[in-house]
């Protein structure tokens, strides 16, 4: 069963095209990781699927309905990217306010307990630490026993321990049949939770595959070296960057690159090989999608 879907959806803000013909199906019981650089359109996609904004063209469906209609959001839980809680209200009051919107919400104590918030119930949200606020914001997504939750960078700003306990909460929800759409900056977070990963860049879906396949796509190595002479033509390079004598080369196959350098007799020194960051990997995917005239 398809719980959420985007059909050829575009969204503009003035002259900026934030999403460009995106199609996506979210099937019941999946955990889908949405990856992409900043400004890729991840949050825009979520705001369309959760009814906050309207697509400029195309169609979105949530549980078979238009998410702009309140009835379409009865089984939806959301954690927005930016944590905003009414500062003067107590945690329990905010939880009760959100619970009141659902036909069969989790009991307050159970929800607070599940996310380790029981001790904070009487505290005003304005007095919580950033991490505590984030945990409350994530807990709210689960208050109404939703069928599907959208978590927009849920663990940003959390320490390792809080992140792991939140992952456990998400896994538990999934084990009970829940569906999760999760955006993240961290490949390891998507690896830890999801089987399916969708990579968004420049407002388009660049990849939609298993996490393993996407990891292969984004597994790029950065090879740095110092060479007094210009480098020869090398195969398999995805990007080259030069600062004086220092060269930074991106390649999916670092071993082969180094062998080629040696075979070409390049007198290099200070060789360094390390995994490229996710951002660098996304840029590579973007370039493959839209060839640069350079």
């Amino acid at each position: 069963m398809i719980l959420a879907r985007a059909i050829d959806v575009s969204r503009r803000y003035g002259d900026t095209l934030a999403l460009d013909g995106v199609s996506l199906d979210i099937t019941a019981g999946q955990i889908v990781g949405v990856l992409g650089p900043n400004g890729a359109g991840k949050s825009t996609l979520i705001s369309l699927l959760t009814g906050i904004r309207k697509p400029s063209s195309g169609r979105v469906e949530l549980l078979g309905q238009d998410p702009r209609q309140p009835a379409g959001r009865r089984h939806l839980g959301v954690t927005p990217q930016e944590t905003g809680l009414p500062a003067t209200l107590r945690v329990a009051e905010v939880v009760d306010f959100v619970r009141a919107h659902y036909p069969d919400p989790l009991p307050q104590a159970e929800l607070l307990g599940r996310f380790g918030l029981a001790d904070l119930a009487r505290r005003q949200t304005g007095g919580l630490s950033g991490g505590q606020k984030r945990r409350v914001a994530v807990a709210l997504a689960f208050a109404g026993r939703p069928k599907i939750v959208f978590l927009d960078e849920p663990t940003t700003g959390l320490d390792i321990e809080a992140r792991r306990s939140l992952w456990d909460g998400i896994r538990e929800f999934h084990a009970d049949g829940g569906t999760v759409v999760l955006t993240s900056h961290y490949l390891e977070e998507v690896e830890a939770l999801a089987r399916r990963a969708v990579v968004i860049g420049g407002g388009r879906v660049l990849a939609d595959d298993t996490v393993d396949a996407v990891r292969g796509l984004v597994a790029v190595r950065r090879v740095s070296l110092t060479s007094p002479v210009p480098l020869p033509e090398l195969d398999g390079l995805t990007a080259t960057d030069r600062e004086g004598d220092r060269w930074h080369l991106l390649s999916p196959d670092a071993d082969r690159l180094v062998r080629d350098l040696v075979a070409a007799g390049v007198p290099f020194t200070d060789l360094e090989v390390r995994p490229a960051s996710l951002e660098e990997a996304f840029l590579r995917l973007l370039e493959r999608e839209v060839p640069c005239p350079a």
């Binding site: 803000y13 003035g14 705001s47 959760t50 009814g51 906050i52 904004r53 309207k54 209609q69 309140p70 009835a71 959001r73 009865r74 939806l76 959301v78 927005p80 930016e82 944590t83 905003g84 809680l85 009414p86 003067t88 209200l89 009051e93 306010f97 959100v98 009141a100 919107h101 659902y102 005003q124 914001a137 709210l140 109404g144």
Partner: protein, 246 residues
């Protein structure tokens, strides 16, 4: 649906009650003006006391609604909590109704001191029928000021909303003739007054408490203002939808 309206009303009231100074603030000026100007100067004359109490009530209705909705809505719109609430299964109706009911409750709190001061410290007196009529008139005249507040709140950021509400507030009060009894304002105020929303409102209140005849021009002006402000508020709300962080 009514359950959700209650939920949103309670939320608004809870939030306001956590900063009680906001409630006191909206109640203090009308009450203080009553004590400073009405009680010593007009308190002994029942007609004067009735009319100036009606003026002060209009003043309180205008100022609480202008600030509460103008600044309150503008403030809420820039909080990330607002787009989150829009993902909950509640449409515009419970949110608007909740805001409106909470606003009316707070307005009643702001008006109460004026009514009590008038009843106990002045010669003002109203028959039960007149009292009811005045209460109805207050509900009616609150509408254009609620709409004015919403128009401000949905069309500008909080800092601008505060300035605009403050800039509008005194000229509207003075120009409408709220600072005086019927026929006692400076000449140009008497001329301009009926065409301002405050002037139309206060003249309706004076008529409701039986201290002035109903004047068609001010009633028509009040209705026209209400319709125009509803148009602006609606336009601002539509324009605001989903664009706030673009």
């Amino acid at each position: 649906m009514s359950g959700l309206i209650r939920t949103h009303t309670r939320f608004q009231l809870l939030e306001t009650s956590r900063t009680p100074i906001a409630i006191i603030g909206s109640a203090i000026w009308p009450a203080a003006s009553m004590l400073a100007f009405v009680v010593p100067y007009a308190g002994d004359d029942p007609h004067f006391a009735n009319a100036t109490t009606a003026s002060m009530l209009t003043f309180a209705v205008m100022s609480t609604n202008l600030f509460q909705y103008g600044v309150g809505v503008a403030d809420d719109r820039v909080q990330p909590w607002d787009p989150y609430v829009r993902t909950l299964a509640a449409g515009a109706l419970p949110r608007f109704a909740g805001r409106l009911l909470a606003g009316l409750a707070l307005m009643a709190v702001a008006l109460l001191p004026v009514v009590l001061i008038s009843a106990f410290l002045t010669a003002a007196s109203l028959s039960p029928a007149r009292f009811l009529l005045a209460a109805l008139a207050i509900t009616f005249i609150a509408v254009p000021f609620i709409l004015m507040g919403l128009a401000i709140g949905y069309s500008m950021p909080p800092k601008a909303a505060v300035v605009v509400a403050q800039v509008l507030f005194l000229p509207l009060a003075f120009g409408g003739g709220l600072m005086s009894a019927p026929g006692w304002a400076p000449g140009f105020v008497e001329t301009v007054g009926p065409y301002l929303p405050t002037g139309g409102a206060v003249r309706l209140m004076w008529a409701a408490v039986g201290e002035a005849p109903i004047r068609p021009v001010s009633v028509v002006s009040l209705i026209t203002w209400t319709a125009a402000l509803a148009g602006v508020a609606w336009w601002a709300y539509r324009r605001d939808e989903g664009r706030r962080f673009s």
